[in-house]
Symmetry: C2
Subunit: 571 residues, 2 copies
Amino acid sequence: MTKITLASAQINTTVGDINSNAKKIINFIQKAEKKKVNIITFPELTITGYPPEDLVHYDHFVEANIKKIKEISKSVKNITTVIGFVNKIKNKLYNSAAVIQNKKIKYIYNKIYLPNYGVFDEKRYFYPGNEIPIFNINNINIGVSICEDIWEDGGLVAIQARRGAQIIININSSPYEYDKYAKRVNLIKNISNKNKVHVLYTNQVGGQDELVFDGGSLLTDDKGEIISSSERFKENLMITTLEIKNKQKEKKEKKEKYITKNIKLNRFENSNQNILPKVPNFSKIDSIYRAIILGTRDYVIKNNFSRVLVAVSGGIDSALVAAIAADAIGPKNVLAVSLPSKYSSDNSYKDASILCENLGLELIKIPIKNIHKSFDSSLEKLFEKSKPGLAEENIQSRIRGNIMMALANKFNFLLLATGNKSEMATGYGTLYGDMAGAFSCIKDVSKTMVYEICEHINKINSYETIPVNIINKPPTAELRPNQLDSDSLPPYDKLDLIIKLYVEKKFSPDKIAREFKKKFGYMNKKLIIENINLIDRNEYKRRQSPPGIKISNLALGKDRRLPISSGWKNT
Amino acid sequence: MTKITLASAQINTTVGDINSNAKKIINFIQKAEKKKVNIITFPELTITGYPPEDLVHYDHFVEANIKKIKEISKSVKNITTVIGFVNKIKNKLYNSAAVIQNKKIKYIYNKIYLPNYGVFDEKRYFYPGNEIPIFNINNINIGVSICEDIWEDGGLVAIQARRGAQIIININSSPYEYDKYAKRVNLIKNISNKNKVHVLYTNQVGGQDELVFDGGSLLTDDKGEIISSSERFKENLMITTLEIKNKQKEKKEKKEKYITKNIKLNRFENSNQNILPKVPNFSKIDSIYRAIILGTRDYVIKNNFSRVLVAVSGGIDSALVAAIAADAIGPKNVLAVSLPSKYSSDNSYKDASILCENLGLELIKIPIKNIHKSFDSSLEKLFEKSKPGLAEENIQSRIRGNIMMALANKFNFLLLATGNKSEMATGYGTLYGDMAGAFSCIKDVSKTMVYEICEHINKINSYETIPVNIINKPPTAELRPNQLDSDSLPPYDKLDLIIKLYVEKKFSPDKIAREFKKKFGYMNKKLIIENINLIDRNEYKRRQSPPGIKISNLALGKDRRLPISSGWKNT
């Protein structure tokens, strides 16, 4: 009988901050030591944070990370510690896991499957590993793998299991997408069951620019059942003790140099207070909201800001962003600004002020009428021969952008932009105007989903945090008299379906038309073609938009890389 | 004796514009047919343009490209035609070359070496090929390869030569960098000489977003001497006739299924009017200027604009951009705008107006004093307790951004931003202010090089196109009284060295300090650390900056991908 205690350190690292990441690692190791943990695992690229991007092209950065892993290893005594770092062998870089025992790096595993799609560019940086070491601790055989390695069916884990691995340690920096957690859990359960191995899955938690890592670390038994799981969107040290009976039978494949004793797990005990009895069941909208809160908070903090600015128009997008900001960093750290123009209705300010009262935000009002007038008179002669149009509308939006940035610059606020995915996709927003800001929390949230999240917030708060009036009124940019979004765009339920199918699913116009008919009962190919070409044409705006949090399968950011100059026309 | 006439079609395609690319291809084939060309070659990914980026993730786009290559092939009779396209085999995509003969695609070569560094993301899109076909035309053995394939030493060309290839066709979309052409020519000469093969090197020409393809297509003999070369930065059909004596001896390696007759070239004749007798010798600065002109012109045209706007301050950066614009699309299509503030000197306007006169540009003046005043009074109360600083300076710059965008929106101009690489690197520019614009022509041009290019322009024009007064006065943003760039930044010769070594060479601070000492005779590590950390900190600004033309080994754009949220500190 062998007893083994496993810990999964689901920590929030900061890209590039090697020193503070190391401090956190050591802190978690010490906590685990107190709990008599035998093995503790940390996320993928723990030392550098993930993704370090082109920082790893700097030799002195890579050297600092190697120096740090060696330094940490010297302080690690009896506890086996698995830490992600950038490994360098003959001038080639690897995405690696160091297995540290008794003050020494005893094994290094180099990631074999390097993702190079979506938001991932790992082949830009790393060479693939080609060795699959198995290490032995307390007479138990353990295989290490990194993230993508276990997503390859019939791949690495099968080889490790054949070689006698009983526990697979898989360290991750797997970004959040709203339907990924279920996939991930199923994958781990299947891999675990199929190969008769425990899987200790450790994921990073926290926000990094466009990405949010949701944690959700897990331990399965060798039948694929979940033994322990960590709450998502939070740091956590998940500790589980397994008691194991040795099987005497040796593996046949003698030629393999790896230790191949086959030991069967008998029972487990769960010694961690933070462990949930089963996988926590956040609803889709709830998990999206938590991801955005975490992503926003970390963007603010990791960029050394403590306060944010939001321009509240009285509309639903800015209401949601204000609510997110209040939740992410506390209402006292959020300044809301109302910037009414001559086209703004009194109700807009009223709604904004009720919202801010509900959220506990300070609201200041800076009317833009006079500034607007001064632009008008400066441009009067030049513009006198043409009808007022988009140019005049954008001037107002850019006056607001200027004021918000002036406040941000003056008082050291970080400005949050309020554009949603439907606007970002179609270019329904003003570059340097309402699109101005350091971070765009709801950039990957469709307008339809903006409503869902607002209703979710009101539900969890059990009262109208976001005034129903804001939810119910027809969307408008208020840049000309009686303007409505529906003057320029199709109804959002239709538009959002088109965006989802074109951007996320990459469907052809014909396929979109068929799906559209399925949902709405009629086909409108002209509408579809117009809108997907509108999406293509607005790449130039997106390229200058602030980064925002990816929550879908395909966000508008580094997930989607399209030419600005393009002669492609969907027909 | 075999006579063979080769043509290299150095054409300017448009990404995504499959129809117009096909028309151009057919047009060049017809031209070549009239000249009795036996083989004509087109650039890499001719059908789709290069780089098509995530467009190839759309099935219907890839299908359209395949349909088009088949359509073209039906019109190709006796002339062997090599065209780049996206190939699809069992749902995998390849970067491929179709060899078309007698109305049929006879061979397809799939690129083997896929670049995935710098500005290249080919592993995001394509699988590598694994076959090296040799085809025979007029009893001459020909091997095909694509771009990167010949940059691998001892790789593909050696195998093809061993298999009897006498001519290597290499099709390219190789972007311009100011020191790349010489490397490229040397590479081709060496490869050709080492393997005793002719190399017909065909490169794309034209601008595509951040990239400029400079053409420079070449034909070498089998000793590595250049027989023909195409002028760079222009479309060209380079035609060369070779007369060849057959060698009777067969190759030994019978088992290889490729045709392996070894035929030796005897002499060549050159029938193309456009061919230069030797490699054209543009100076470094001349080639940079041509690249920027081409990149700017194509960005404007390919985005369906015909006119551009430039804000001219009287400073050297905007003077250069105005000169570029005039040269790229003609002075009648450029509107220059002067936007004096209360801090602008009268000389600034005078200099701007002499510049515009020299360039033949219309100049309009829109003073921003009144608008500035209206901002001041709107923000008076909020700002009264603090000293004027950056916030106040930026307001002026963003008023200008707003006016320029209003003009652009109103009259359908494309706005050119005027920031140089030294400013982009250090963040010495105002987001949404002077950084506003659709395209940033001199984004990869250091301040030091801005001066060099201006002097070059004056030299080639044989008179002071750019007034010497603009060249000689100390750089200033004129956003506060008596402001100078040197208040905030080190002298540009020092700064530019630091930027070059940190950004382009990716040196560590210590290595930069050593190089700095070599050049300037003293070491100032503090200055270096301050400035490279300034570069790192300003990633957030660059992320929202307009795209600009890459001319260096490493431009600030998709060439350099760094986290915004980063705890890394150079020490």
